[in-house]
């Protein structure tokens, strides 16, 4: 959905875990899914620190 985000004017966007689970991945076992979420959120926080 990144192209949609850009089209409507989002300036900082990263690809998520998917439309039905943006910050998760139901295919993964619970502990791995939590780690996946943590990496995704850390990437989002990094993006907030970037110059646009």
């Amino acid at each position: 959905m990144i192209p949609v985000a850009k089209e409507v004017g989002s300036l900082r966007a990263i690809a998520s875990g998917g439309i039905v689970s943006p910050t998760g991945n139901p295919e993964l076992p619970p502990d791995k899914e939590k780690e996946y979420r943590r990496q995704l959120v850390l990437r989002a926080l990094q993006t907030l620190q970037q110059e646009v």
Partner: protein, 382 residues
């Protein structure tokens, strides 16, 4: 909608008749079919030749006959109409005392028994554009007369009033004064005579978001193929759907220090507390919900739900942290990676959102976050 077409009889539901003015039964020429349309012209202090910014605080005034650009307007009206008076007001006065300025101007112009108000053109001047829009709307509502304003399509007055009044696009250059007044006069005469008004592109006014049913000569599939063929040939064609325009926004400065940052979580994925107490819509949203999360360490599937008509919510409902990463944010807060997690999550169901509603929801949320001292936002979108 294009396609040479026979119009349905205008419907009260869909547009041209929705203006209160059109319901007025009195017609121009009740006192003789060939009588001239009585026109009042609105100008700001500059075009009324009072002065520049130094006179922008001058209050409302009225004079018999025409002033300045009124000459070109009178020429454009020709035999059809006569400028009986010019009303004018300083741009600052109008902006600072809008209600009073409108009251006075409407009261004074009523004495001239006008049929039509022409305002501007204001080109790209924002205060003047707003004044033109506001006085036209007031004239329609309070005097039941027709009105036409002129300004650039990007003038803030255009976005404020284009749905309620006819606005002719003047562009930004004052060199377009005469042709703009010609289009304003032609549209004003048609309106005053209660003649059918054509589409924005043929009459030269800004689209007002009005939809009107029409009979098209060909079915949609044929029209679509015609358009495609024209496109492939490099010929001109006109889409029947106007894509929405998204206003660009200025990027926020990057966060320099995460350790002192206050981060808020926002979602358009329809997160709600169990039972959806604010009753937010699962689609076509007009509002959002504000969910308090102080003291909440993780989104428990028994206490939170996703309400959204645009995706399968089953996976997020089994673990709402998949939609809004609250558990992870608490972890990062505890570890000192971020300063603080904002104590509310704002959420709306973003399916099929009208751009205008989505914009309002976004602005409202942004204002609240700013007021609460939030420095960064993670918005999870479905």
């Amino acid at each position: 909608m294009t396609g040479s077409a026979r119009h349905f009889a205008p419907s009260r539901l869909c547009g041209e008749n929705s203006f209160p003015t059109i319901q007025r039964t009195l017609r121009i020429g009740d006192n003789g079919m060939n009588s001239k349309i009585r026109v009042v012209h609105y100008l700001n202090q500059f075009f009324a030749q009072i002065g520049g910014e130094d006179k922008a605080d001058d209050g409302p005034q009225i004079k018999d006959g025409l002033i300045g650009p009124g000459r070109a307007l009178q020429q454009a009206l020709g035999e059809h109409g006569e400028i009986v008076a010019t009303i004018f007001c300083g741009d600052n006065f109008f902006a600072e005392h809008q209600e009073r300025a409108i009251d006075l101007l409407i009261q004074r112009m009523a004495e001239y028994k006008p049929d039509l108000l022409i305002a501007g053109p204001a080109f790209e001047s924002g205060r003047y554009g707003i004044a033109c829009g506001a006085i036209c709307q007031a004239a329609q509502q309070r005097l039941g007369i027709v009105a036409v304003a002129g300004m650039d399509e990007d003038n803030v007055g255009a976005s404020l009033y284009r749905k309620n009044i006819y606005i002719v696009n003047s562009g930004v250059s004052i060199a377009r004064m005469a042709p703009t007044l010609q289009r304003m006069a032609a549209l004003g005469v048609k309106l005053a005579r209660r003649e059918a008004i054509g589409k924005p592109e043929s009459e030269g006014y800004l689209p007002r978001g009005v939809k009107r049913n029409e009979f098209a000569a060909k079915p949609p599939a044929e029209r679509a193929v015609d358009m495609l063929l024209a496109k492939l040939r490099g010929d001109e064609f006109h889409s029947e759907i106007a894509p929405p325009k998204f206003a660009g926004s200025k990027p926020a400065a990057p966060l320099h220090d995460l350790k002192s940052a206050v981060i808020a979580l926002v979602t358009d994925g329809g997160l709600v507390p169990e039972g959806n107490p604010d009753n937010i819509e699962p689609g076509r949203p007009t509002r959002f919900t504000t969910i308090p999360i102080a003291g909440v360490n993780s989104l428990d599937a028994n206490r939170y739900d996703a309400v959204h008509s645009g995706y399968d919510t089953a996976i997020a409902n089994r673990d709402p942290n998949r939609l809004v990463p609250l558990d992870t944010m608490r972890e990062l807060e505890r570890e000192g990676v971020i300063g603080k997690l904002h104590e509310f999550v704002h959420s709306t169901g973003g399916a099929h959102a009208a751009v205008e509603n989505a914009t309002n929801i976004g602005k409202d949320i942004a204002q609240r976050l700013k007021a609460a001292g939030v420095t960064g936002v993670i918005l999870t979108s479905t």
